[in-house]
């Protein structure tokens, strides 16, 4: 039994932020009906990656991952019948998760005020780049735009750049901002489910991706308001982190030396070289001052070392140190295997597929994949006939008219 198996969710969204929010609920047992446009469906179906790079609506890795455990129906919600069916589904649900623009939602007649009249207990979570109000409400955005406007790119890469004229602020790995919006939306949704307990009254949850991202750099925002700190991208403008991404002969490592104990133990790992035993590196203040010099010396030593031996030696002395793994190494890592982390699913038309699994382990109600992501419209009959009372003939007509 899943922790959330009593919850009925309609997901009316696409790509990442809406679907990840709904996935959090689905993977812990909530029933999620995912509503997609007929024909092409959710646009993550065309994102990939695809086996052998051959695009196929039912074989996109991103879609498969984001939509595990969901039922899938198709609806043209711009048509009269389609909108009616969507409204019926929402009326029967505890939760609606959507990530359309506020304008589109209003134009289609799906505003919370309307929906909650038919379903006063409805929790409606709207995930948008800038929220339902404010001067940027109708601005269009994607992962890149959101990541940069919320202040995150300014501090990437760590330590700054050589030439702020030529090297722009840097987005991290793609899609992170969209995932984060879905994640914050999940917590906000559950918060509304709890708030509903006392009175049975639902809520409109307004999740602004802009605010979710700014919240993540709260320490930098606090430093700006309280300490008057201004982050500058020029290399050397920030105090040294006393860390190093270094090169071995067969790979890269990352090491943290920001305490006396870590530094002393790291010096042992390097075989107690003479250069480390000078005033330049004798305490933290000195090491912060001279870290560039330390890095040069460490890199000179590391380039002849075996990555595996270096990391083992560091870890044996409890110095924070790991290899800079690619996904190949992390996918094959002993630790993640011991944790049974990766999930596998047999998926029609794809065979066996392996992807990231549970982001948390719950002892009594574990995360699980009960069913793979739905084929496009896979559950049209089960949902439209089984729950809403339409007949096979109704569905045949809807198909012809492009409603489903």
């Amino acid at each position: 039994m899943g922790a959330l198996s009593d919850l009925k969710v309609v997901e009316w969204g696409e790509f990442i932020s809406g679907p990840y929010c709904a996935k959090l609920l689905a993977d812990l047992g909530a029933e999620v009906i995912k509503v997609e446009k007929p024909g092409c469906g959710d646009r993550s179906r065309s994102y990939g990656p695809f086996p052998k790079d051959l695009p196929h609506t039912e074989k996109s890795g991103l879609f498969l991952y984001l939509n595990t455990n969901k039922l899938g129906v198709t609806l043209d919600w711009a048509s009269v019948t389609g909108a009616e069916i969507l409204r019926e589904l929402i009326t029967q649900a505890d939760i609606l998760i959507e990530n359309h623009s506020p304008r589109e939602v209003e134009e289609l007649g799906f505003h919370y005020d309307t929906l909650s009249k038919a379903n006063p207990g409805l929790v409606m979570t709207s995930i948008t780049p800038f929220g339902q109000s404010g001067p940027y409400r109708d601005y269009r955005a994607c992962d890149l735009v959101s990541f940069h406007i919320s202040g995150l790119a300014h501090m990437n890469p760590s330590g700054g750049v050589d030439d702020i004229e030529e090297e722009p602020p840097l987005r991290g790995k793609s899609l992170q901002a969209d995932f984060l919006a879905g994640l914050s939306g999940g917590i906000a949704t559950m918060s509304a489910v709890f708030a509903r307990r006392a009175t049975g009254q639902g809520r409109h949850v307004d999740l602004s991706q802009h605010e979710a991202l700014a919240s993540v750099i709260r320490r930098d925002l606090g430093a700006a308001t309280y300490e008057g700190l201004e982050r500058i991208r020029v290399k050397g403008a920030q105090p040294s982190t006393e860390t190093l991404l270094g090169q071995c002969k067969d790979g890269q490592f990352f090491v943290v030396c920001n305490t006396d104990r870590f530094w002393a133990n790291w010096v042992e790992v390097m075989g107690n070289p003479e250069w480390a035993d000078t005033e330049l590196f004798q305490n933290r203040a000195a090491r912060r001052e001279n870290w560039d010099a330390a890095k040069i010396m460490i890199e000179e030593w590391a380039k002849d070392q075996s990555l595996d031996e270096l990391v083992r030696a560091a870890q044996a002395r409890r110095v924070p140190c790991m290899p800079v793994n690619t996904v190949r190494e992390s996918a094959n890592s002993e630790q993640l295997a011991a944790r049974d982390y990766f999930a596998e699913v047999d998926r029609e038309q794809m065979g066996r597929v392996r992807f990231p699994g549970a982001p948390y382990k719950l002892s009594q109600t574990p995360w699980q994949v009960a069913r793979p992501a739905p084929l496009l419209g896979e559950h049209n009959e089960e949902v439209l006939c089984g729950r809403l009372g339409y007949t096979e003939q109704d569905l045949a007509i809807m198909r012809v008219e492009g409603v489903i």
Binding site: L4, I149, M155, A188, S208, R219, A338
Partner: protein, 406 residues
Amino acid sequence: MHELPLEGIRVADFCHVWAGPHVTQWLAVMGAEVIKIESHLRPDLTRSFFAGGKTLMPGLNQSVDFAVLNYSKKGCTINMTLPRGIELAKEIISLSDVVTENFGGPVMDRWGLGYPDLKKLRGDIILYSGSGFGRTGPYKESPAYAPIIDAFAGLTSLNGYSGGEPCPFGVGGWTDLTAAQHGAFAILAALHHRYRTGEGQHIDLSMSEVDCAFLPDAVMDYTMNDRVQRPQGNRDIAMAPHGCYRCQGEDNWVTIAVSTDEEWKAFCNAVGNPEWANDERFRDGPSRWRNQDELDQLIQGWTRNHTDWQAAGLLQEAGVMAGPSLSPQAVVQDRHLAEREFFFDMEHPEMGTVRLPRLPLNMNHSPFGKYEHAPSIGEHNDYVFRELLKMAEEEIAQLQEEQVIF
């Protein structure tokens, strides 16, 4: 709207530094009574952290790094090196619904406060354990810092300029706070389950597993195609133009992304170069992507004559996705966040009035939640020991003298 979602829920909180406290920050803002258990022997490290904008402040109660992650919580002090201290902690736990911790090793077990022990105190207890690599496996006690975790999980290998080398992810707190948010979600799910069944449980969260949860495209390109992806930077796998362009002014940049041919035409018109839409090199998505080096040069020729907001404003009016690339200090001045009331004034007895970001909780048109000042160390000892545990004044005084309440 006055009812808070977690009113009536109590949390015995052993979390420290960043990842742990952000979990209980969500719970506190949602209305739970979060009792943060520290000690003068071991105050939360962040009480001594300063970003460097001010010189080191005296005492343990003036760090904004601490305040921005610990507001709305109560604070008490217990010396957990003494058996009597552990007894006090157990008494608090007996009155709590949730226990939270993010120690680097089996500290709770050593204290006799592991999950089986906690269940004896309270059968339906929910224990949250956060760590870098999880409570099981060969790395379960490996020293865990965000950049170490990022390196292990593969995130560092995917961070860098397009076609460039991996570099450490510079968004301070990203890995800690995304892990924490998964933790908060898991706790809410566990509480929901408990409401339905009366059953508690143990939550074991690994920050490195959370990192991987946000990389499914890279992971699956490997598991399906044996391909190892490299950093994309500000570029995209399919969209072009898609990048960050130099604007007028010091360190002034705008991001622009075009996803369809319609948007491309609108873009060309907006920047006064409609002929680009007919240029063979840029006629469709794949062509624009192939020729994006040239395209980016042309675009930067235009953006250089505008500030970030001028460029973004013009493009947004034309329906093109664009926005300035801002620093944290610019974000605190942002007019949209101001109108949304994303910042609040924390009134703190020692720090004074401090403008801090809320959590992104907004319901029925307004920010939502309990926003109170961050606790000074031991600030709520009187409440916890006298009111909650109903101890006599003399006993409390005695325990303070013996440095149990310390």
